[in-house]
């Protein structure tokens, strides 16, 4: 008689890698005003920032390596865990890339801001819940700046949003600061990608689960043993 497969197994095998890979796919998608697609690979700086952010996730306990890859886990479980870690790295780089302006001085400004914010978070050593809340705020702010404010400021037409932003900023001009705003559809895709990323990070096996990881492994072994006995 077989026991039911633990939900964690489904989660690690399907939900998490597919969610992170979807973020890696959508994070690079750029849709221009004519509706044509473009897929931008992450710039080098996004890869560097992704490493820093993964380190932050590790320090805050949002990602527990032992819950994903551990000598006590079966080989396939470790392979699943490794796939999650790799997909998380790719998704992190692409989520940073999609929230950073593509090219120009603004890219530099954003990259410095990311570095300072992640460094500050690393130094503050928040717990998992606070880190997730902090990530939502940081990503939300970057999204609003890139896809709402900058897109409105650099929009070719004088839209209502542009007039509202100009009124709020009291007619401030960005002078010769060149920037090519993405197509409006890109913003919606980026929004979905960011939410999916934060949701998937929140769903990663937690610190409390790491202690239970061995129990899950034992349970998997028990299921296999009970199947053998049934035969």
């Amino acid at each position: 008689m077989s026991a039911a497969i633990p939900r964690t197994v489904w989660h690690e095998a399907f939900t998490l890698p597919i969610a992170f890979l979807s973020v890696a796919l959508l994070g690079g998608l750029r849709i221009d005003t004519a509706g044509r697609f473009g897929f931008a690979p992450p710039p080098l700086m996004a890869l560097v920032l992704a490493v820093v952010l993964v380190a932050v996730l590790f320090r805050a306990g949002a990602i527990v390596p032992a819950a994903l890859v551990h000598p006590a886990r079966p080989g396939l479980a470790n392979a699943s865990g490794l796939a999650i870690v790799l997909a998380l790295g790719a998704a992190t780089a692409q989520v940073i890339a999609t929230l950073t302006p593509d090219g120009g001085l603004l890219t530099l400004v954003f990259d410095v801001a990311w570095l300072v914010l992640f460094g500050n978070t690393l130094a503050a050593r928040p717990d998992r819940r606070r880190l997730l809340a902090s990530l939502l705020v940081i990503f939300g702010a970057a999204f609003v700046v890139k896809y709402v404010i900058l897109s409105a400021l650099y929009a070719p037409d004088s839209s209502l949003m542009k007039r509202a932003v100009m009124a709020l900023l009291e007619g401030v001009s960005l002078g010769g600061l060149a920037y090519q705003p993405p197509g409006p559809a890109t913003g919606y895709v980026a929004f979905a990608a960011v939410l999916l990323y934060v949701g998937a990070v929140a769903a990663l096996p937690q610190a409390a689960a790491s202690a239970g990881a061995t129990a899950i492994v034992r349970r998997e072994a028990t299921i296999v043993d009970s199947d053998r006995l049934a035969d």
Binding site: I5, V9, W10, A13, G28, R36, S80, A83, D231
Partner: protein, 181 residues
């Protein structure tokens, strides 16, 4: 009894965490390969994406009716109409032969006894690049159409290059006697 035992073993295997993980890993690997392909192939629309996936697993097929219509227009020297029909036939731009014909329409439309149209030749070169990108061997041969003077992608590329080059041979009056490609 043996049948019952085998079926219970199969049912147990289906409920095995190892199987779930193996299927999950296979799905993840397939999806990751798709993501890498998307970034490499850079499809510009959902149609191109569908066509690219279909071509990569060998099930992509052009619309034969639209292709034949394009060939008919091409032979009647209605090049813009031919390109529209070829575009319908190969919406994902994944068929080397159709893209070869599209490049050829630009060559014939841009060719003249006294000058060549650089803009059309440049578009022809771009179409030929697409054709070569879609071909597996890096060269395309169309031998089944007697209407074509140029039968291979190498000759077509050279015809475009010659047409776009500026040198003293452009002033050769015997050039007017050249046969249309």
């Amino acid at each position: 009894m043996a049948t019952t035992s085998a079926s219970s073993r199969a049912a147990a295997a289906l409920r095995s965490p190892a199987l779930v993980r193996a299927v999950g890993l296979a799905t993840t690997a397939l999806y990751a390969a798709f993501v890498v392909w998307v970034y490499t192939a850079q499809p510009r629309s959902l149609v191109e994406m569908r066509g690219g996936v279909a071509a990569s697993i060998g099930v992509y097929a052009v619309d034969a009716v639209a292709f034949d219509e394009g060939v008919r227009y091409f032979r009647a020297d209605k090049f813009a109409e031919a390109r529209r029909a070829f575009g319908r036939a190969d919406a994902a731009e994944r068929d080397p032969k159709t893209q070869f014909y599209i490049a050829y329409t630009f060559l014939r439309q841009g060719w003249g006894r006294f000058y060549e149209d650089d803009a059309l030749y440049a578009q022809g070169q771009a179409a030929l690049q697409r054709a070569l990108a879609a071909s597996s061997g890096g060269v395309i041969r169309v031998d089944d159409d007697p209407n074509l003077t140029i039968k291979s992608s190498d000759e077509l590329a050279e015809a475009f290059a010659r047409g776009l080059k500026r040198d003293v041979s452009d002033l050769n009056p015997l050039g007017v006697l050249e046969k249309r490609p």
